[in-house]
Structure formats: C-alpha cells, structure tokens
C-alpha cells in the first residue's frame, strides 16, 4: 500500500494515530458490511495516486537530471567537435586546447554526476531534497563551463554566449521561480564580470582570430550594449518561462487538490453507503442501533460511539447502544436534558464538538469521561419526523480531533440513522399492536365464550325438560333463545379459531399423519341426519386406499366439515350432496359437490374473505358468521393444501381440496 492512500484517509478523517491502522479499519469494515466481499474497491491505482499525491515538481526534477546528463554528452562532445572543425575547416585561430579541455571537463564532470545520480532513486515519496541539491550542482557546473567556454571563445564577442539561454530555460523548468531569477542574475554577473574584467584588462582577452573583422571587447558602447541586451534577454526569458511554468504548476496543484477532494468525496459516499446498507438491513431496533454505533466508530476511526434515546417524556437521554466503551462508563446513568446545556444545544438541531473535555463546562459527567480516556467528543442530533429522537456521539482519546468533515459526516450519519431508527420503532410498534390485537381477540373471545356456554347449558336444561315440563309458548320462546345462543356460540368459536390461527398459535401443535378417510367418513356420518331431515341425498365415495395427510385431525375435520355442512345448508330440499375422497397424483383429493344455490360469479373472488357472505346465501339463511370458509382455507393453507371452487348461480357448487400425501413419513 502506498502512503498516498493513507494520506487521503488521514486528510479526510482528521484522526490521530497511524495511517495504516485507519486504512485497514476502513477496508475491513467495507468488506464486513458488504458481506459477500463485493465491497467497492476504494483504492486507486498506484500510478493514479502517485500523480495525485506526489510533489510533482520534485519528482519531475529528479527524472530530468538523467535527461540532462544525456544532453551533456552531446554538449561536451559538441564543444570539442565544433572547436576542431572551426580550426580545421574554417581555419579559425582559437584556443583549441583550452576549449578541448573544457569539452573534456564537461564530459568528465558528467561522469561524476551520473555516478551521483545512480545513488539517487526517484521514488514517489514526496520531497526529493537530494535531487534538488544535485540539480543546483549540475546547473552551477554547467554555468561555470559555459562561462569558461565563452571566455576562451572571445568573451563578449563569443557567439557561444547564446548557449546561455539553454541553461536559463533549463533552470526555469527545473527550479523554482526565485531560484531561476537568482541563476539568471548569476549569469548576468558572470558574463558582465567576464566582459568587464577583459575590458579593463585584468584578465586577458582570448580572441577567435578570423571570426570578427574588428575588436569589440574593448569598445565600451559595444560591451555595454551587448551586456544590456544579454541581461534584458535573460531576464525576459526567465520572466516568460517562469510565468508559463508557474501557471502549469498551479494548474497541476489544482488538479492534485481536485483529485484529493474527489477521493475524499468518494470515500465518504462509499462509507455512508456501506453504513446505510448495514443499518437498513434490519428492522430490529437494537440491531439498528448497534450497527449504527459500530459502523460509525469504525469508519470515523474514533475510540467509541454511543446512541442515547429520549425517554421519560423527553426529559432524559438514556443509553441505547454503545461501541468501544467500558461497562463502567455507561453505568453513570441517563443524561438529564434539564441539567445539560450541551444536550439541549444538540437536541435543538446542532452538531456540537467538545474539543477539550476539561475546558468545557457544558458536560454533566466530565470526570467519568476523563477516567475513560475521553478527551474530545462530537455529538449530533437524531431527529425524526415528530421531533428529536436522541443523540449520537463519538468519542476521541485526544483533544481537538474533529474536523469540519467529521462534523458533516456525523450529521449525515445521524440523518440516515434517524430514518432507520424511526423505521425500527414503527416496526416494533406495529408488531406490538398486532400482538395486542391478538391478545385482545383471544381474551374477549374466551370471556364471551364461557358465559355464552353457561347460558346455553342452562337453556338446554330447560328445553330438554330436565327442570320440569314447559308450556308450548315457553318451549317456543326458549327454543328461539337457544337458536340465537347457538349462533353466538358459533360466531365466538369461529373468531377464536381465526384469532388463534392468524397468530400462528396452532403452529406449535404437533402435527401428525392423519388418515383422512376416517375423518371424511365421520363428517359424512355427522351430516346424515340433517341431510335426511331435508330429504337431501348425501352420497359418499371414499377410497379404500388409506390416504394420510400431515396435520391435526381435529383441524382437518373442522376444515372439511365446513364444506359438507355448507353443502347441506345451502342445498334446497330434495337436492343432492356428493362427497368424494380419492388419490390424485400423489395428493388426497376431496370433492364436495351439491345441487344448491351456487355461488354467483362476482362473489367467488370474495368467498374466502372474513365476514363475507354471498348475497344469495344471506337471503337463504339469515344467520351465518361469514367465517367458515376463511377458517377452512386458513387451516388448509397451513397443511399445504389447496382449495378451489367451481360454481354457477343456481346450479350448485363444487369445492375441491387437494392435500399432499404424507405416505413417505408413514412408511418410516
């Protein structure tokens, strides 16, 4: 891992401690959060990060030195070659040996520079101080060489004077603006000094005989003019070159900052995404809170994180989840809103940083915090739709360790955390409501069932003549009362069944293989008398093959019974009801068909809805709970059975139930 990656994190989180630790924390968290290890790769390629975080001037300088050495071979060889060509071809009388020596000197010190350069590695780790020193040495040696070259090729008259511009441009590219100006000044001093000393005769003038028709080095106007133009050209070049390079460098620095900003933004988005994902993947309040504290502490790289929720009518903030703190610390109790100005500030919607616990008077338990090794804390409000829910707080073991970025991040975490907490609270409330509803129904039904049962028993005692003979009127009235009570009893039983079924109470019962042949036979037998009373032909066709379905016998009885009972109930006198049980493709299939009033098309979709009764059924028989088929379907669904209905108004109905056979289970 390169340093630059850490650098980005360090800048972003502004946390004390080691870079690498932070980085590992971050990556391990993202892989944990994503679960399957499909975490987005937040690291950039090394080349990319190098460009982003390398001090680019130094790095380029370091690379340029090698290139400079290559050029110098040409320069050294060039000096010697041009000298001997000028002498041999142009027949110019020049100081060949001195110039050759300068050429050899250039090649010689180039060898040394190359060796020196080999010891320098242009690494990506920021400042290359040795490279800068080498660059200065290169430039100084070159300038000395060119000054000597100019001296031995005619001083101010030398055409080699123009070569200085190469060096000026090189210096401007390689060095900072100020250094470029310094070296330019030095060039002017060197050339000016050389020309001046030759002019006054302190050093000898070495002319190139045959190059110029006249002597110029002792002409004050020429020397002055040449120096003026040299100096102004040098300064002008430096000015133009530094302006261009400084603009480029500025642009480069901007790019660098932009890249870092992008990386920061990306990291922040990613961590937010990861923590949002973790937090929203559950609806259990405690789990939501625990994941929130854990991910926030890990991502921010802080010592600890806590969430406190408002309790006691908004008067106290009590601990709901902690990460990274010792038990002893949070036994200090709830924060009291009245006595805690900091908390009031936060609950009002502000993110509040305490940079130094000892210097802050707004805290309720500063001593306890210090004992826990906490020196700074950052608190953000958790605000829901209907006002504040609580606070989220991160703790740091050093003073002043929270940056603006941290504040913003915690505020964002608090925002999405609040939504997750509200969702979890709403979910819990909904579940409690469901449970309360179920309990209510169960209690009410039990409370209703028992007195109605007693009333019924008493009435039956009377109508059965066990308490003495009744007059006809008395018997009739009691029979009516009994009928109403019977209905009430059925309704309560149905409701009780439904409530228990809906709440999944029956799931705990032990299911076992049930021989449905027997169950169906009993049901048919049960309905023989009522059918006969209505002169209905009740026929049963039950296969001899034992069909076994996994379930609870009484419940299957209840489910099937409703179908046969409905058939008998809604078939007019003289009609037919046929019950058929057979094995069809690995299933037990029960068919109950009648020649009754039928189910109208528009009612078929509602047949299995609570309290629904088809209009024609209602017209036929006034009393009915509209729960029978609901219970039937409820029970059948529980045991993996299917029920379907085929009917036409006035042409009877056929209910078909198919249940998976439990034959395999029976065989073991």
């Amino acid at each position: 891992m390169s340093l630059s990656e850490n650098y980005a994190f360090e800048r972003f989180w502004c946390i004390n401690g080691e870079f690498s630790d932070r980085f590992y924390t971050k990556t391990s968290l993202s892989s944990q959060l994503s679960g399957s290890g499909r975490a987005m790769d937040i690291r950039f390629s090394p080349a990319h990060t190098a460009r982003l975080n390398q001090a680019p001037v130094d790095y380029e300088l370091c690379l340029s030195l090698e290139w400079l050495c290559k050029l110098r071979w040409i320069a050294g060889a060039g000096v010697i070659l041009v000298t001997w060509l000028a002498r041999g071809v142009l027949r110019l009388d020049l100081a060949v040996w001195s110039l050759t020596l300068i050429g050899l000197g250039i090649l010689g010190y180039n060898v040394l520079f190359l060796r020196w350069l080999n010891r320098l590695t242009c690494d990506l780790s920021g400042a290359n101080v040795p490279a800068r020193a080498q660059a200065r040495a290169h430039i100084a040696a070159d300038w000395l060489a060119i000054t000597l070259l100019i001296h031995f090729s005619g001083g101010i008259e030398s055409p080699a004077i123009l070569y200085f511009f190469f060096h000026i441009i090189l210096a401007t590219i390689l060095l900072s603006g100020r250094e470029a100006y310094l070296f330019a000044g030095l060039a002017i001093v060197l050339i000016g000094g050389l020309a001046g000393l030759e002019y006054v005769g302190w050093i000898s003038h070495i002319p190139v005989a045959g190059l110029l028709p006249t002597r110029l080095y002792d002409q004050a106007i020429y020397v002055g003019g040449a120096l003026f133009f040299f100096a102004s050209a040098v300064m002008g070049s430096v000015y133009l070159a530094t302006r261009t390079t400084s603009r480029l460098r500025k642009r480069e620095a901007e790019m660098l900052t932009l890249g870092q900003d992008l990386q920061r933004a990306y990291t922040r988005l990613h961590t937010l995404y990861a923590s949002a994902q973790a937090v929203n993947s559950t609806l259990e309040l405690q789990e939501v809170l625990d994941r929130l504290t854990r991910s926030t502490a890990e991502v921010m790289g802080v010592k600890a994180c806590t969430i406190r929720l408002l309790e006691a009518g908004g008067q106290s903030l009590c601990l709901a989840s902690t990460y990274g703190l010792r038990d002893a610390y949070f036994q200090k109790g709830c924060l009291l809103v009245d006595q805690n100005p900091l908390v009031r500030e936060v609950l009002a919607g502000k993110v509040v940083a305490v940079d130094n616990i000892t210097a802050d008077t707004r805290l309720q338990y500063p001593a306890a915090a210090l004992a826990e090794g906490i020196h700074a804390m950052l608190t953000a409000p958790l605000i829901g739709h209907d006002g504040p829910l609580g606070i989220i707080r991160v703790y740091c073991g050093e003073t002043r360790c929270f940056s603006d970025d941290d504040k913003q991040y915690l505020a964002t975490v608090a925002n999405h955390g609040s939504i997750a907490i509200e969702n979890a609270l709403a979910y819990a409330a909904l579940r409690n409501l469901d449970e309360a509803k179920r309990k209510f129904i169960l209690t009410v039904t039990h409370e209703l069932r028992s007195p109605v049962g007693v009333v019924r028993s008493l009435l039956r005692t009377l109508t059965g003549g066990y308490a003495g003979a009744l007059t006809d009127v008395q018997a009739d009235m009691l029979a009516r009362a009994l009928r109403r009570t019977d209905f009430l009893q059925t309704l309560i039983d149905d409701l009780l069944d439904l409530a228990a079924g809906k709440a999944g109470l029956r799931m705990e019962e032990n299911t076992q293989p049930v021989k449905v042949n027997q169950v169906v036979a009993q049901i048919v037998e049960r309905h023989t008398i009522p059918a006969a009373e209505k002169r209905i032909a009740l026929t049963a066709e039950i296969t001899d093959t034992p069909l076994t379905v996994t379930g609870v016998a009484e419940q299957l009885d209840r489910a099937f019974n409703n179908l046969v009972s409905n058939a008998v109930k809604y078939t007019p006198e003289g009609g037919q009801v046929a019950v058929r049980l057979e094995a069809v493709e690995g299933h037990a299939q029960l068919t109950v068909s009648d020649t009754g009033i039928g189910v109208p098309d528009e009612a078929q979709a509602h047949l299995f809805e609570e309290f629904y009764r088809a209009p024609n059924a209602k017209a036929q028989i006034k009393e009915g709970t509209g729960l029978g088929l609901v219970i039937t379907k409820d029970i059948l669904t529980r045991y993996g059975c299917m029920i379907r209905v085929k009917s036409k108004l006035g042409q009877g109905a056929t209910f078909t139930v198919t249940c998976p056979l439990a034959s395999e289970r029976l065989s073991d």
Binding site: R449, S450, G453, V454, R456, S457, L458, R460, T461, G464, G465, Y466, A467, Q489, D493, E509, V552, E554
Partner: protein, 125 residues
C-alpha cells in the same frame, strides 16, 4: 338398585345447577364441589361412583392438579373421571396422567349437550 352418586366439580354454580338438574332427572344422586380441594375432601368422605371434573378451575387446585392428586391416592383413583374442558380439542389429553390407575374416561368439551352427557355417563356406570 341403589342410585349412583356423581360428584360434579366445577367452580361455576350455574354449570353445577344445569348439570345437577340433568343428572337428577336421570335418577342419579348428585354431590357438588366448587374446588379441587373440596372435591378431594368429598371423595374421601364419601366415595362417588363417577366424577365430572371441570379442567379450568380457579387456583389453588385446578382440574389437572386435582386429577393428579386423585391418581396418587389408591382409594380415590378407582373412580372414573369425565373431564369437561372449555377447550374444543382434546389437546390437553396428553398432559393428563392417564396411566392404568387414573381413570380419565372421557374428555367432553363445553358446552355439554345434556343427551351427550347422560350417554357418556351411562357408558361408565
């Protein structure tokens, strides 16, 4: 023929009244107990021929625990017991100690039809 004695154990006086009328009309002698402990006391004082026991009685001694105590008493456990339960299924049956000594003959669910009750009793007396 001496009349058979049936002990009705139920904490609901209305139920006791109804059942008493039904049973007396069929010629049985009826004793009653409104709690488990009263039931045990009555059984020890005068052994009935059958016990009609409500499962869900108020504490301290409900039908279940009363039958347990009856089963622990070699004198009492010969008496057949018919349990009357307000729960529609016999799902509690497994919870009762129905070994060879404890004679729970039948579970009947409330509300009890007089004819059904008499028919069941007739089976055991």
């Amino acid at each position: 023929m001496t009349t058979k004695t049936i002990l009705i154990v139920d904490d609901d006086p209305d139920i006791v009244l109804a059942n008493r009328l039904v049973l007396e009309s069929a010629g049985y002698t009826v004793e009653e107990a409104t709690s488990g402990s009263a039931c045990l006391a009555k059984m020890r004082a005068n052994l009935p021929d059958l016990v009609l026991m409500d499962v869900m009685m108020a504490n301290p001694l409900d039908g279940y625990h009363t039958t347990q105590q009856i089963s622990d008493d070699p004198q009492l456990r010969q008496v057949p017991i018919i349990m009357i339960s307000s729960i529609t299924t016999s799902q509690y049956a497994a919870a009762f100690p129905t070994d060879q000594y404890l004679d729970i003959r039948e579970f009947i669910s409330k509300p009890v039809e007089p004819e059904v009750l008499l028919a069941k009793i007739k089976q055991y007396l």
